[in-house]
Amino acid sequence: MKKIKKRAFFALIIAFSLVVGMAIWVIRLWENGSDWVMLRANQSVFNEGILDVGTVKDRNGLVLAKAGEGVFSYAEDESVRRACLHAVGDYAGNFGSGALSAFDYKLAGYDFINGVSSFKEEGASLRLSIDADFNTVAYDALAGRRGTVLLSNYKTGEILCMVSSPSYDPNNPPDVSLPQYEGVYLNRALGATFAPGSVFKLVTLAAAIENMPDLNERRFYCEGSVNVGGDTVTCTGHHGEQTIEQALANSCNVAFSELSQELGSEVLAEYAEKYGFIDGLSIDGIETAKGRFDKAERGTSDLSWSGIGQYNDLVSPISMLRYVSAIANGGVAKEPTLLKNGKSGKSSLMSSETAEKVSQMMSYNVSYAYGNSLFPDMSICAKTGTAEVGGESPHAWFAGFLDDDKNPYAFVVLVENGGGGLSAAAPVASRLLQAALG
């Protein structure tokens, strides 16, 4: 019997492997549970493949979308529904970066302890950082033009306003094959890139500040155009002798052509990448569009244009917002977030000295070139952009921030084919900022 007794422990090997198996399961569950519950067939979360739980609210608690028991609804106000469509998304899943698609795992309300169960059975309530009122104002200000408006708090990274146009009322979806709805499912703020035009001069400028010690003493001569490698780089005007501040305020192509040639494509590309324009960002898990900066050969006009935001340059509006936020915040970018009180990281893009210098020049821009009439009682720093896009009317950009600790807003306005940055985009920013400042 002694033998048999000992051999009985053989059965414990099987018992032990069961314990190991259960441990594997619990560890896997811990790691992947939130992904697993998002299986479309999971009827605790989806109803015939449509999200059936959760409430999306704006930062003030206004309900933007709500689902449960097989019924879903959007915001009550039609203009809110239109203005927030891209931020919220729809239940059909047409908007990949909308909260209903991108944050569906949060709406499912999964956690390891409770699974997806909750007493009221309505999943989680998700507060976005978006303010529906800001969105409505911005959407109105775009007045049906294609484009996007972004406003964020550069101290916290929260995106307070994110509008993409064209949009529609999700309660009444139109025939999206109509030409005016072309690209309607695209959130232009996150998922698209555009030629930046002169706003990109802010990048070239930062590179110049850090690489050219004598920049402040330099003078730039503009005769309306300059010949580079046999091609002509034209300027918007005949600016004569300028300091670097004046060159930026004039948005002088001749001066920035000179800077680009001196810095070279390697340095410019390095800065474009360092400032987050190339790789795209991850905003609460939403991957944004990748930008582009091609290295042109030294001595060619392509290199000049690439430093002016033309040539093959492409940036996404959100990456521009992050960049101006970093300038506003002393060189440190709080990573943008779409969730209220969302914990976002930060990255240092430039030294605080560089940020301070760029910031001063952007402030000078407004007082010297744009005039303060559009932005009464605001200490605003900004840069316009008018990006030429082969043949069509140029993209109008306006990017900047308020140098104001109480109202730490950074903004980017892009009006596709809207014309001049100052004439088309700045008024949109003006209306939004005035609304934001109350």
Partner: protein, 641 residues
């Protein structure tokens, strides 16, 4: 029958609650959901404490005096004597072989000796033992090679003292408590199921849970009436069966009644088999016929079987369909386990291997890969316990690996399951259909579940059999699901622990093989549905819907039950205290000593003959004359050289 059902249904008509009562009920059911894990853990912890914490008093059943003058106690009913260290009684002498003889005690207290080496050099009182063994009386001398040992049976005083010291269950944890907590589980499950069920199913669910509740307490009362206190094993089985009833209620409420009837039948079979196992002699006598019956059943299955999901493992007789392999499981263990005297015979092992090969081969031919695997695991356990050779196990695993490889190349549906293993998320509408749904639903349940009857996984095909762990996790939560797995592990720990006290190798082998079968089945079911192992489609012991599986599980439970030798614990063992009545020494007793009393010498009266006042359950033995299994003194035996 219809009328009976109608009238029963009317008793269990569940009214619709509205208003305040309805709201209260909603809250109550919601929060009772949180109580279920507590009750489940209470059931398990009590069983574990009761089964594992109680100290086992070492038992002594006789003595051997060795040539060196030392006295060795015989602690089991089957003891090996030889020169090997692994023997129960070690005799260090050149003339003694490693495993020389086996001493076996029968339930009446008679000892016999079997020569396992079959060498003419061993004898009792100078006479050769012979092939059929010889009786060993108190004071007999046992001749092994050049050594003479003396055997002494217990004296009556020792017998009484030992009987009183023997561990009785129920001292630390009362069996009532365990059943009470199981009842709480049943109540919570029934309430939630009835509340969440479709109106037409409410009454049948209530009825089924009531039937299980009644059967459980009836069993409890019957066992207490028999004076049995060790009911942990049954508490675990009733707990798992309650979970199973909940799964059936969610998934296939229409087959609930059938399930309950089969559950009751399974419990009855458990009791019958348990009583049958009391007598090892009749077990020994019926092992071979049972094995032939099993083979016949498998052959009938192979010829007339029906194919479901690629496996031809169903047999339909008169509108009643069942899985023969489930019943063969019981016989397989019944025939595979052996007593010590037979254990060392090579011929027996070969016959057993042949029997195993036929069983596993037949299952492989049917395409029932999962069950074949379960049999194979039981084969490994039994053959290891019989031979003790790791080498044999390795050889068997290698052979099975090759056979499995062949099976994979021949049976496409098995190969398909293997190819899906680890890749279920890549094919959520095809090969991974069931698994990803089980995983997703299991994750949705969290630790406490959505509430019994509130999930959706039960609508998926085979949810009530193959995806049971997912249904449990989804509706009752991870804690309860893990408790269900832990319950079987507790059975394993119990069986292994009992092995140290067991009286016969048969019970140890049968118990270990049974619990191993359950564990392997459990592992294949649970980890198959969770994509940790290939999906084989076997059942979760006691929990999965399905009569054949339920019956075989309860029958296997009888083998586990039979390993329990605590005093007054298991009905599968005759209590040696009571057997004393048929022993010549017992006549010394005036009265049977009560539990806890020490035997007082003054109470011993040589004239008392207590046959008349015996226990009812051993009535049949009273009339019989005292038997001695080993009494072969009539036979002519040769003297030792």
């Amino acid at each position: 029958m219809e009328g009976l059902f109608e009238s029963l249904s009317s008793i269990f008509t569940i009214p619709e609650f509205t208003g305040t009562i309805g709201a209260f009920l909603t809250y109550f059911i919601y929060f009772s959901r949180l109580m279920l894990p507590v009750a489940a853990i209470a059931v398990l912890s009590r069983c574990v404490r009761s089964m594992l914490r109680e100290q086992y008093e070492p038992e002594v059943w006789g003595y051997l005096d060795l040539p060196d003058g030392s006295r060795v106690p015989l602690r089991h009913w089957e003891c090996t004597v030889g020169s090997a260290k692994s023997c129960d009684v070690v005799v260090r002498d050149i003339s003694v072989s490693k495993n020389h003889v086996v001493l076996i005690r029968d339930e009446f207290g008679n000892w016999g000796v079997h020569d396992i080496g079959l060498n003419d050099g061993s004898g009792v009182n100078g006479l050769v033992i012979g092939e059929k063994g010889a009786a060993l009386e108190d004071g007999d001398s046992l001749n092994l090679g050049d050594c003479d040992l003396r055997f002494f049976n217990l004296t009556e005083e020792e017998r009484g003292i030992i009987a009183d010291r023997r561990t009785a269950p129920g001292r630390e944890i009362s069996p009532f408590n365990m059943f009470f907590y199981v009842s709480i589980c049943q109540f919570i499950l029934a309430l939630s199921q009835v509340y969440n069920a479709q109106p037409e199913h409410k009454s049948v669910i209530a009825m089924s849970f009531t039937a299980l509740f009644a059967a459980m307490w009836l069993y409890y009362i019957a066992m207490r009436a028999l004076g049995r206190l060790g009911l942990e094993v049954e508490a675990i089985a009733f707990f798992l069966s309650s979970l199973g009833l909940s799964v059936t209620s969610s998934s296939v409420p229409e087959s609930l009644l059938k399930q309950v009837f089969l559950l009751l039948a399974a419990i009855i079979l458990f009791v019958i088999l348990g009583f049958w196992l009391r007598d090892l002699k009749r077990v020994k006598a019926t092992r071979n016929p049972a094995a032939f019956a099993a083979i016949a059943l498998l052959i009938i299955n192979l010829i007339f079987g029906q194919e479901y999901f690629g496996a031809k493992n169903w047999l339909s007789i008169g509108g009643f369909s069942f899985q023969p392999s489930e019943f063969v499981k019981i016989i397989y263990i019944y025939a595979g386990a052996a007593t010590m005297d037979r254990l060392f015979r090579r011929r027996n092992l070969i016959v057993y291997i042949a029997f195993s090969a036929i069983c596993v081969g037949a299952l492989a031919l049917m395409g029932d890969f999962g069950t074949a695997l379960i049999f194979f695991a039981a084969f490994l356990v039994i053959s290891f316990m019989r031979s003790g050779s790791i080498g044999t196990v390795f050889l068997a695993v290698t052979g099975a690996g090759l056979a499995g490889f062949l099976a994979l190349s021949i049976k496409p549906h098995i190969a398909q399951r293997f190819s899906a293993w680890g890749h279920v998320w890549e094919d959520i509408y095809g090969k991974g259909y069931q698994q990803v749904r089980a995983i997703s639903a299991a994750a949705s349940g969290g630790l406490f579940g959505l509430g019994a009857g509130k999930g959706w996984l039960h609508n998926i095909i085979a949810a009530d059999t193959d995806l049971v762990f997912g249904v449990l996790s989804e509706e009752l939560g991870l804690i309860v699901a893990v408790c269900a797995v832990a319950a079987i592990i507790v059975l394993a720990l119990f069986t292994v622990r009992n092995a140290s006290q067991s009286r016969s190798a048969f019970f140890v082998i049968a118990g270990c093989a049974s619990v191993s079968m359950m564990m392997v089945q459990l592992g294949l079911n649970v980890f198959g549905s969770l994509d940790i192992l290939p999906f084989t489609g076997v059942t979760f012991p006691f929990v999965s819907t399905g009569g054949s599986s339920l019956i075989s599980c309860w029958a296997l439970l009888a083998f586990i039950k039979a390993t329990d030798t605590r005093k007054n614990a298991s009905f599968t063992n005759r209590d040696p205290d009571k057997m004393r009545d048929y022993n010549e020494f017992s006549r010394l007793y005036d009265e049977e000593p009560q539990q806890g009393d020490f035997v007082d010498d003054e109470q011993l009266s040589p004239d008392a003959f207590p046959y008349g006042q015996d226990k009812q359950d051993d009535q049949s033995y009273m009339e019989q004359p005292r038997r001695n299994l080993f009494d072969r003194r009539g036979e002519k035996r040769r003297p030792l050289k």
